[in-house]
Amino acid sequence: VDLTMYYPVAVGGPVTKVIDDMVQRFQNENPDIKVEAVYAGNYTDTMTKAMTAMKGGQPPQLSVLFSTDLFTLMDEKAIVPIDEIPGADKEWLNSFYPAFMENGRAEGKTWSVPFQRSTIVLYYNKDAFKEAGLDPEKPPATWAEMVEVSKKLVKKDASGNVTRWGVEIPSTGYGYWMLQALAIQNGQKLMNEAGNQVSFNAPKTVEALQYWVDLAAKEGVMPKGAVEWGTLRTDFLEGKTAMMWHTTGNLTAVKEGAKFNFGVAMLPAKERRGSPTGGGNFYVFKSATPEQQQAAVKFIRWMTAPERAAEWSIKTGYVAVTPAAYETDVMKNYVKEFPQAVVARDQLEHAVAELSVHDNGRIYKIVNDAVQAAVTSTQTPQEALDSAQKQSERVLSRYK
């Protein structure tokens, strides 16, 4: 059986090599199944590719896509529920962290299986903390603390130009994700269960965005303008910022690249701690033949088995998707010497399902634009989010 799988990469490190390697091993163990794993860019690109290929009549049989693209894929009638495919039993489906399964369930069915899942964590430079006279073991736990600590971490050169920022929250690519994190912390959910209702201009959302904007505009601890998701890690590794919010999926890459001591912490709280989950799930496409669907499930099971989940987590930093993975020896050893690795998992208890609505790509774009409009001071947070709400409602009106 031949399978084609598209997958995205959104973090640093030789991720394609890891996947290729795992696929190779799977094929060695299952000589009757051939998997062609195609790296297709970031999440959006991969979704674009998969959709386009489907419209063009040559869809892949399975893909790793945003867990949140569920509604879109369902609307497109692109996928089949995993639990309807022979080989996907209840027991297996229940072995995953429930927080990760949230995004994969709808209409009483399980449509996808978590794979490269993450939460947002706070990376901080311990050496910088020391240098600023802060306790490197006490990362900020609240919004207020984060501002306070950041202010101390900002470093300027003789002519008053900033050489190190306090904190950076990326606003390109995944701005909606960061906004959601802030909103959760502020006690606001961004959408309903049915994925056809959003609350972007709720006062608490606006407040959350205002806080973010103020980090640059008022407090001067973050650079003005859009902060680039892709290069932020490099900024952090180069010491241009003392703290960053980023996906835990980057953990291994940061670990490899850091020439200083760094810590990983849960995101700070306002009303509560919190982070949306994030990342990609496995989907199986409807157009695949029954044999292919079964082979796909076989492959997914293999990929998410505890040993592989542990390996995957160690090699990237993504959260291993089953509790069982953390019980494996490799993982235990790894955590022992690198405790940062479990922060994201621990944060799961505060985690909330990621923003997932119909026409997800468009809504993400609308929110991202609003975030960027706000951080670049093109619009006030209120204006930006009002407009985002208006546009989103227009898009979502079709799904009510």
Partner: protein, 269 residues
Amino acid sequence: MRQQGHSVETIAAWALALLWLLPVAYSLWSAFHPSEYATRFDLTAPLTLDNFARAWNQAPFARYYLNTVTLVTMVLAGQLVVATLAAYAFARFRFFGRDVLFALVLVQLMIMPDVLIVENYRVISALSLLDTIPAIALPYIASAFGIFLLRQTFKSVPNELVEAARVEGASSFGVLWRVFVPLAKTTYIAFGLVSVSYHWNNFLWPLIVTNSVESRPLTVGLAVFGAPETGVDWSVITAATVMTMGPLLLAFLLFQRQFVQSFMRAGIR
């Protein structure tokens, strides 16, 4: 007085030229030095091919090269044949509907396939060609620019030459093959250069119609490879960048005189 004006201009010209070369120079610098020198300039920095090796190993560049070369060859060969025949018809035949047809050809000069990505995607998919190299090539095979250029050239061939060939017994096709084609050599070269560099560099359309490594050309491969999300290090990205533009750049450096001249002589205007 006159002399001085000259030297001021010479200096200005040189300054601009150096500025113009700076990006390329920089990319070479960073590709050939270890990554810690990507942002630091130090003449004693050690040279290395390591970045190339890493880029080469991290993505199937060999395959991308093969794809791009295949693509460029396919496009050029197709364009030359199609444009030659069409240009010959336009330049030398009086036939029913000629002017209307020519106007319809010119439409493509303004509204190129690059703009019609949405519908062309449907067409290609209707032809079941998605994710193949012919899919990238097909919309460009009939090149209005090529037809236009060759028609101009063919029209400038003195009628006497055609008549001489006819008196000597050449058929219609003989005239095309023995007179027009050899005489349009410069135009063919110029057009070939434009076409090769255009399709070597083309991006958006190949990005849309290709999904797999088997059909992806270099540019798409590079974009996928160098996406900032992956945070691949600068030196490796520039190495990949240099690899992508290398053959073209090298060919241009070697043949720049011919390149520029055939451009000018073909009177692309």
